[in-house]
């Protein structure tokens, strides 16, 4: 499209078009740059604070760059709270959540995308409409159900729904399966391959990019989730990072150097994952967003 715009400008009058172009490019750059710096400012501020001695955090006027870089704040976080445990718990929750979401959503998505049976369209519409239901509406009965089962203070209430085809991920996987040509499976079916064979031997290996997208989104969900742990978890040693920081904050509210060190450590895995998987991330947003 941009190429088209350039061509248009050229036909409109060469000199005028080009002069305007340079001025515009400069303005565009300045605007983009100022915005980018503004957006990154809080992150830079977080990092700088986490590496400062406390008296420099509480100085007026503000000290932008620490006089010396210290890592005591990070070490203190681990001394004051079981932060390593929090990180580990988040890791465990994320991994189990990823597995659940990949398995559950791809099974149902295969059914929606590839198999014909009475009621399929109806079920699909039902699934799509549940995507609109706020968590708040199902929260009370779900909480009662899980507490009656004696699952409070376990990961089961948080993880179990992932294994039963979360609509968003099912939709994502279905859209992906629809883009795979049917011809690929036809020959396998002629050779006597069952639906299970088609699913496991043909579609699954082809779906690695889509599965990776599901994995990344689930990782972000479980790493960030506060509501689930807040409702269901009681013992501190079971807290994931999000919940750990929430409780840490209520004790150490005044110690910003410590809080920023904890926040940096909580955000770092997300930043790393995002930078390395950006392409898949964007693909996922486009599949579920535009085609929806």
């Amino acid at each position: 499209m941009t190429a088209g715009m350039e061509q248009v400008a050229r036909t409109a009058g060469e000199d005028e078009g080009r002069k305007l172009g340079t001025a515009e490019t400069i303005v565009t750059y300045i605007v983009i740059l100022v915005g980018a710096v503004g957006l990154m400012f809080p992150f830079a501020w977080m990092l700088s604070t986490s590496l400062k001695p406390l008296d420099e955090v509480y100085s007026y006027p503000i000290i932008w760059i620490p006089s010396q870089i210290i890592f005591e704040n990070y070490i203190d976080v681990f001394k004051k709270v079981p932060f390593a445990r929090y990180l580990w718990n988040s890791f465990v929750l994320s991994v189990l959540g990823i597995i659940g979401n990949m398995a559950g959503s791809s099974l149902a998505a295969f059914s929606f995308a590839r198999l014909r049976y009475p009621g399929r369209t109806l079920f699909f519409i039902m699934m799509l409409s549940t995507m609109m239901v706020p968590v708040w509406v199902t929260m009370v009965p779900t909480f009662i159900m899980f507490s009656r089962l004696g699952w409070l203070d376990t990961y089961l209430p948080i993880l179990l729904p992932a294994y039963f085809a979360v609509p968003f991920f099912t939709f994502l996987m279905r859209q992906f399966f629809l883009s795979v040509p049917v011809e690929i499976e036809d020959s396998a079916r002629i050779d006597g391959c069952s639906s299970f064979g088609v699913f496991f031997r043909i579609l699954m290996p082809l779906s690695i990019p889509a599965l990776a997208t599901v994995a990344i989104f689930s990782f972000f969900f479980y790493w960030n989730d506060l509501l689930g742990p807040l409702i269901y978890l009681r013992s501190q040693l079971k807290f994931p990072v999000a919940m750990g920081i929430a409780s840490f904050q209520s004790e150490q509210y005044a110690n910003f150097a410590l809080m920023m060190a904890a926040a940096t450590m909580a955000l770092a895995p997300m930043l790393v994952v995002f930078f390395f998987t950006q392409r898949l991330f964007i693909q996922g947003v486009v599949i579920t967003g535009v085609k929806g």
Binding site: L107, P134, S195
Partner: protein, 304 residues
């Protein structure tokens, strides 16, 4: 009516279809449809979580709601936030996408930077913003002081707290960017070429081609953003717990507190259903309004 499959092969495929669908079907019954019906029922009771059967009280919860100051406050706060955040959020997000659609050097790095804050969310970010907004030691006031603004007590002044939340929301404005960009790239180049041959200037092309062609995308982003905005929770819970003086007592915070602080399960269910109905009606309203401003290229022109 639904026709039953006739051939053995079709019957087998149908059976397999249901087997693969089973995880979703069970999840749908256990975690969505079942709880949905249950909370609808509980909304008409005084249930408090004990083992006895809930007492049916008819519409009493709902009539009580209308005299409940906290309910009105939470509704007011949520609507103010939505009204204050959605229009600038939509405009800024779209503006950024237009900028990012230019072919300038390093644009992919900038796309990452603009997108990042909308991805990195949650408790840690709320904690970070709590510090950014700090009256004496936060950067926001420091930057504003350069322009001669006296320090603002962002988080403890009920007049400013909503502004603080909107600023924080706008930080994640890159959220719709990816979807806008995909939409922008889907506009056929010929439209622009034909328009400039006809002598249409840039602004004209923007209003008469870009905006109508992007309206379905804008519509989609607006609907999703609206649903999300009405359920804001984590930031409010972490940063203010609904304060100061209930100025950020969002609807979801009210539901959470009613459930887990006061243990009024019946009343909380009524509240939750009201939120659901509200979101549903607003979405419906948007869909109704769509025919006036959303342009679908595949359709014949009827309204325009």
């Amino acid at each position: 009516m639904i026709a039953l499959p006739k051939t053995p092969r079709a019957r087998r495929e149908a059976l397999e279809g249901y087997i693969f669908l089973l995880p979703w079907l069970l999840g749908f019954i256990l975690f969505t449809a079942g709880p949905l019906l249950a909370s609808f029922y509980l909304g008409f009771t005084t249930y408090r979580g004990d083992r006895s059967w809930p007492d049916w009280i008819g519409f009493a919860n709902f009539t009580k709601l209308f005299q409940d100051d906290l309910f009105w406050q939470s509704l007011k706060v949520t609507v103010i936030y939505a009204v204050g955040f959605l229009p600038p959020g939509m405009a800024l997000g779209f503006g950024i996408a237009l900028l990012m659609n230019q072919r300038v050097k390093g644009v992919s790095i900038f796309r990452t930077i603009y997108y990042l804050p909308s991805v990195i969310t949650g408790v840690a970010v709320a904690v970070l913003w709590g510090f950014v907004f700090h009256k004496e030691f936060g950067i926001l006031n420091t930057v504003l002081e350069l322009f001669g603004v006296t320090p603002i007590s962002w988080l403890f002044d009920s007049r400013w707290i909503m502004v603080a939340f909107i600023i924080m929301g706008l930080w994640g404005v890159g959220d719709g960017m990816i979807i806008y960009l995909a939409g922008l790239q889907g506009i056929p180049t010929e439209l622009y070429e034909a328009a400039s041959i006809d002598g249409a200037r840039r602004m004209r092309r923007f209003w008469n081609i870009t905006i109508p062609m992007m309206s379905p995308t804008l519509f989609f982003v607006l609907v999703t953003a609206l649903i999300k905005t009405f359920q804001i929770f984590t930031t409010a819970y972490i940063m203010t717990r609904g304060g100061p003086n209930y100025a950020t007592y969002f609807f979801s915070v009210n539901i959470y507190n009613t459930t887990f602080m006061s243990l009024r399960f019946g009343y909380a269910s009524a509240l939750a259903w009201l939120l659901f109905v509200l979101i549903f009606l607003l979405t419906l309203l948007l869909f109704r309004s769509a025919k006036f401003w959303v342009f679908y290229a595949g359709e014949k022109e009827e309204t325009a």
